[in-house]
Symmetry: C2
Subunit: 196 residues, 2 copies
Amino acid sequence: MPSGQPSPPTTGGPPTSATANAVLGLLSFGRELSGYDLKKWADHSLQLFFWSPAMSQIYTELQRLESLGLVTSRLEEKADARPRRLYAITDDGRTWLSHWLASEPVDLPMLKNAMVLRVWLGDLMDPDTLTAMVREHRDRLQARLERTREDRRTITGWASMAHAEVVIRWAERYYAAEVENSDLLLEDLAALETPG
Amino acid sequence: MPSGQPSPPTTGGPPTSATANAVLGLLSFGRELSGYDLKKWADHSLQLFFWSPAMSQIYTELQRLESLGLVTSRLEEKADARPRRLYAITDDGRTWLSHWLASEPVDLPMLKNAMVLRVWLGDLMDPDTLTAMVREHRDRLQARLERTREDRRTITGWASMAHAEVVIRWAERYYAAEVENSDLLLEDLAALETPG
DNA sequence: CGTTGCATGTAAGGTGTTACATGATTAC
DNA sequence: GTAATCATGTAACACCTTACATGCAACG
């Protein structure tokens, strides 16, 4: 069989990766942002349901997106501040993103939970150490839940943030469920210790 | 300042990566398994809370683990069947894994949810397309929940699977919560459409 | 003046995927 | 017989992180 299309060529064509589209998505809300801004934003929004790319990757991604014409950049001109490079989405970028969102099949969520991995291998661990780890984990989830609630308060009612608000409500429920599930996990672990 | 330790050297030392330890963990239940077996197993256990590595990575990982002495392999000798290479964990492997589990800090769970990403960028999408995607996603979560329930029935009561059972119970609650959360997400999306 | 935060990048290397190559066995 | 599944691996490449390099601005 002749080779035909070497499948989505990736190189050359617009970005395949969800990360590139996530960065483009951050810019799609319409504001001009620096790489640094983008990272902070990502930590408070994307992080909740995706993950937050490293600074260096954001810069790399931005350069790639610019070379494809999906974003543009300019140097901010302010006399008293040091220069920053600000990025904005282009019409092409918006069109591309819109198309990608509707056409690309939605992957099942990918979850990498190192805590549950430990429980799964619990036979190899000291029960008290394991329990202490799960408790700490639970508390960190709780902290994240509270931070998410605060974030919601800050964005509630913002114009053109309707979908973002729906997502943050989703995230609140998600993390609340995680905390509850951790509590039940702790109960199950305790039950393992007390035979009968 | 002199460089000092170049931080965890990674190269040379035993595996840092959670993946290597997950594969080692699959073998820690004590059975001899082929790369192929491992993949199937991973799809029904690890997949629930971690993710399932590609076949090729499993083979690569096994070779690496063997070169470190954490697993051993032998060719299965059966006259009527084609040969398979079977892997087993070594005492060193068990010791290493045990140590890693207790000493390594537990990362926060990493979640990459392409569906929620789409909702987040919902302003760029046609509402009906978005809703249809969320519904399909919900149904796939439901299907996974049901498969998880079946898997639980098959392992319930198995010897030396106590922790695995705790984890599968966790996974059932997790996916049930995900389905419920998707339903609420659909309601929120519907509310966006009907102003007032 | 020293530390912290802002700000932008490069280099090297590990992690993980897809595509390719190959072939035996089993079920229809 | 032919399609699906079992079975093992290599090669190329995309993806992403860490470490490094650099320097300004603001605060105490």
